[in-house]
């Protein structure tokens, strides 16, 4: 059936904007297969995975390959005309009109995500077959990984909030499993717990938000929600602010927004493919996706689109800049990438919150490719040197060229160097921010671009340049791993052109249009033409970052050594006076960025982590109090006390039984007399 999206499309038409969309026919009706195959793979791998050559890797890959077929077909159909339909079936009906449904939406947004998840997912799975070879319980790895894919697809395909929650917690579960994949070491388990618990806290927001919105409008259906939002429905308006902010809080958890980002760096405890697919490309973007799905809600109600938006943009901004700085001091290459991911998520969130629906999603789209690429590259390196620390690397470019070149491509894309993908998407964000009047934010974002380029350059330099400081003889990874690197490098380079403002590719239009007719009904902004001035500034910031980074961590020995002194900047001028000007420049940079970064690192470790640990400890302590004092002594004590009392009463009462017959008789007579006195004279 055409479903809610179609209604919305009609709504768009009412606003006089032309849309033409097919119902996707067979491919859309059967799109649900994509939501199921990974679960079949999951069970199959658990059942027979151990016995297979690649421990079930082939099953997982096969499943995603099938999915990618559907995803691609739909993607193309959507380019060439648009697809718009949903399929749902009822899983519960309470009373007359509280209905729960499962199903799959097929529209620009979900198709984009289907494609993203399945494309990147497939490559990562293939890569993982090589990466995980010979590792422990590989079959469990692929099982859990397939579980993730399924849950993620359920999430992105969700036509309503409830199914979204199901997928949402599902991916959380998978990430718990995979972060704690090496559970023999309890630290990894704790990292998994931390991720799950942080998200669970955020989910309280999601669930309450869903309830408040859903109950208020009588359905959890996204279409209804958007429609009513577009109509400025009163019942919805009444709860828009609180509901919207609660949803945003939920999004903050999954998408690692400050201050709930703390779990993501720890999540790097999982195998690298996991970090690539879940903690960079797809899962962490679920929050952005949620914001996009419910975008009309955030646009059409003054309080939410006003003050509410301020808060959300602020959070996003802090995230994109402050957390980005942390990447400067990390030595673990995966940590560098993790912080960078958080900062990029900050960009997306800022954009979507600011009303840049397309901008945010486009950055989500491009980022998925080059961040996955970077992680896989890092994985390839780690696989080679058996260490996460850049202090054990260096000079690897001659050992592993493919990895090097693809990694550089990814870095440049991330840094936002024209004409790579990152440049266009980041530029669109800047443009949107400027247009929506967040000028300050826009400048912070530009500074962020500088920082991004800065730390990526550092990463590249320390990893691939200088001389090798690790042990053994590093070697290029097998084709099964480099293949995906290349396959990801290409889109990282080219996909920027999919959405050059004002450029409509022949026959297929551009990303903005694919994202679907729904946008038009939501009064979002997307630039119609490139603002080259702004682009130039952004580009300049990036280049500056690269230049300084290169100067600071460039390949000559001294500065390679300087990297170590960089952590103690006060001493630095005393040790090196040679290039005075450079020293000055370096001094300034070192003296400023260093302490700031370390301060933020400190707050990160001691305040936000601290809070989490404190909360955890506190809760346990409270539990102790509740149980040992309240329960055992208090509530329970009352019960025990009572019976103890009855007991002693019994012993005292029975003392009456002295055995002396005449005392009995006295009691007898006394009783009689008391009765008489009582009833004859008193009453």
């Amino acid at each position: 059936m055409r479903g809610f999206l179609y209604d919305l499309a009609i709504l768009a038409v009412d606003e006089g904007k032309a849309i033409e969309a097919g119902d996707g026919g067979f491919w859309a009706d059967t799109a649900g297969i994509m939501l199921i195959t990974p679960f079949i793979a999951f069970l199959a791998i658990l059942a027979v995975g151990k016995k297979l050559k690649h421990n079930g890797g082939e099953i997982a890959v096969a499943a995603l390959a099938i999915n990618l077929l559907w995803a691609s077909v739909l993607f193309v159909m959507n380019m060439t005309g648009g697809v718009l339909t949903e399929t749902t079936f009822e899983i519960a009906r309470i009373g007359s009109d509280l209905v729960f449904e499962l199903g799959w939406a097929v529209d620009g947004l979900s198709i984009m995500m289907y494609f993203l998840v399945n494309f990147v997912g497939l490559l990562v799975f293939i890569y993982a077959i090589g990466y995980m070879k010979g590792d422990v319980r590989v079959h469990w790895f692929f099982a859990a990984f397939s579980l993730f894919a399924g849950a993620m697809l359920i999430l992105v395909g969700a036509p309503n909030l409830v199914q979204l929650i199901i997928g949402w917690e599902g991916v959380g579960l998978a990430s718990y499993f995979l972060i704690g994949f090496y559970w023999d070491d309890l630290d990894n388990v704790k990292a998994g717990n931390k991720a799950f618990m942080t998200n669970k806290v955020a989910d309280v927001g999601l669930i309450l938000g869903a309830i408040i919105l859903g109950v208020s409008i009588g359905t959890f259906d996204f279409g209804e929600l958007s429609k009513l939002a577009a109509e400025h429905d009163e019942a919805l308006g009444a709860v828009a602010l609180v509901g919207g902010l609660l949803l945003f809080f939920g999004a903050m958890g999954k998408s690692a927004q400050f201050p709930l980002h703390i779990w993501l760096p720890d999540a790097m405890a999982g195998p690298t493919p996991v970090s690539a697919l879940m903690h960079a490309a797809t899962m962490v973007t679920a929050g952005i996706y949620l914001m996009a799905r419910t975008f009309p809600l955030f646009q059409n109600f003054d309080d939410l689109a006003g003050d509410g938006r301020m808060w959300m943009v602020a959070i996003g901004t802090i995230t994109l800049f402050a957390i980005g700085l942390l990447a400067l001091v990390a030595d673990d290459i995966k940590k560098v990438l993790a912080y960078s991911t958080v900062s990029q998520l900050g960009y997306m969130m800022t954009a979507v919150a600011a009303g840049g629906y397309t901008a945010g999603l486009f950055h989500l789209f491009t980022h998925a490719f080059f961040k996955a690429l970077l992680f896989l590259g890092a994985g390839s390196v780690i696989h080679a040197v058996h260490s996460n620390n850049m202090s054990d690397m260096g000079g690897l470019r001659k050992y592993m060229p493919t990895t090097y070149w693809t990694f550089v491509v990814g870095s440049l894309a991330l840094a936002g160097i024209i004409p790579l993908a990152g440049f266009w998407s980041k530029d669109e964000i800047l443009a949107t921010l400027g247009h929506e009047g967040f000028t300050l934010v826009m400048w912070i974002a530009i500074a962020g671009a500088f920082v991004t380029a800065f730390y990526m350059t550092r990463a590249v330099a320390l990893t691939f340049h200088g001389e090798y400081k690790g042990h053994g003889e590093p070697h290029e990874s097998p084709p099964i791993m480099t293949g995906p690197l290349v396959a990801l490098a290409i889109p990282s380079m080219l996909f920027g052109f999919l959405n050059v403002p004002g450029l409509s590719l022949p026959g297929i239009g551009n990303f903005t249009e694919w994202l679907g007719v729904r946008v038009v009904a939501m009064g979002d902004y997307h630039p119609e033409s490139v603002d080259w001035g702004l682009a130039a500034i952004g580009l300049a910031a990036a280049l500056l970052g690269i230049a300084l980074g290169w100067r600071l961590w460039g390949p000559d020995k001294d500065t390679q050594a300087a990297r170590d002194r960089f952590n103690v900047p006060v001493l630095y001028p005393l040790l090196r006076r040679k290039y005075y000007i450079d020293d000055a420049a370096l001094g300034i940079v070192g003296a400023t960025t260093g302490p700031i970064a370390r301060f933020i690192d400190w707050t990160n470790t001691y305040i936000f982590d601290g809070i989490v640990n404190a909360v955890g400890g506190m809760t346990k302590w409270l539990g102790g109090i509740t149980y040992n004092f309240l329960d055992q002594l208090g509530v329970d004590g009352v019960f025990n006390g009572l019976s103890a009392a009855a007991d002693s009463a019994g012993s005292s009462v029975r003392k009456l039984q002295t055995g002396r017959v005449q005392q009995y008789a006295s009691g007898f007579v006394a009783g009689a007399l008391i009765l008489v006195v009582l009833f004859v004279f008193v009453i």
Binding site: K655, Q657, T658, G659, R660, V661
Partner: protein, 101 residues
Amino acid sequence: MVVSQFLVLAAALFAMGVYGLLIRRNIVLILLSVELMLNAVNINLVAFESMIVTTEALGQVFAIFVITVAAAEVGVGLAIVLMIFRNRQSANVDELDLMRY
């Protein structure tokens, strides 16, 4: 005729009986106290009968029954006394406190 004197007498006897039963240690004397109480009852009955004359002289009849039963009771009582005396060469109730609590 006036009944009240008889009633007072009866009450007094009854009270004495109770008193005796409570303080006497020797079982035989206790039995006698019981006799006192029962006779108090008889006096009551007869006195009442003399006040309200019933066709079947119920008072006297009742009294006779009481006397009979009293006799029986004392018979039983003495039997028990005998039994106890056999076992412990004493008729003192204070010593009977094997069972208590």
